[in-house]
Amino acid sequence: SAVISQKPSRDICQRGTSLTIQCQVDSQVTMMFWYRQQPGQSLTLIATANQGSEATYESGFVIDKFPISRPNLTFSTLTVSNMSPEDSSIYLCSVGDRGMNEAFFGQGTRLTVV
């Protein structure tokens, strides 16, 4: 298993500003993912964070809005840029090994944009 520390746990931000969410894992992992989850909804994959290269974004998500860094195998950040109230959601970091094993999640970041 992997222990994931995600920060901040929650934040209230002004529209037009940006927030960077950090995800730290206690061991090296192959795959790191960023999800968004609206209250009462399922998980929507934003992107796969690739170590040493640009993230792989899912349809509907772009790098300019959600820039992602992954400088090594234990750390990643997701920035929510130029925020609007529609960005209010829970953002989750997830890790897994290559080969379809179970996913582990951080505690999540509850973002409210006002």
Binding site: M31, F33, G40, Q41, S42, L43, L45, T48, L92, R98, G99, M100, N101, E102, A103, F104, F105, G106, Q107, G108
Partner: protein
Amino acid sequence: GQQVMQIPQYQHVQEGEDFTTYCNSSTTLSNIQWYKQRPGGHPVFLIQLVKSGEVKKQKRLTFQFGEAKKNSSLHITATQTTDVGTYFCAGHHAGNNRKLIWGLGTSLAVNP
């Protein structure tokens, strides 16, 4: 596109009653995983099924993977208030082991 449908969306039961949630994929899955998310929490892995027709049990929970590897179910016997939460199925589609495809989840409420 690739979808995993999950029903029901919500379920209220009396404590002691049984509960079942079903997942159905539009395409063949390499595996199916089940997660539980408590209110205010994050998804927590419960189990993974890989083989066609596989059945696994965890105490009061029984997980099944269909013969065609397109559907799955989670059955809870004699629910308890600690079973409250949202249950998600998720799977990798055959030929794509990079990302999980998630069901919409079933929210379970248990009345004591």
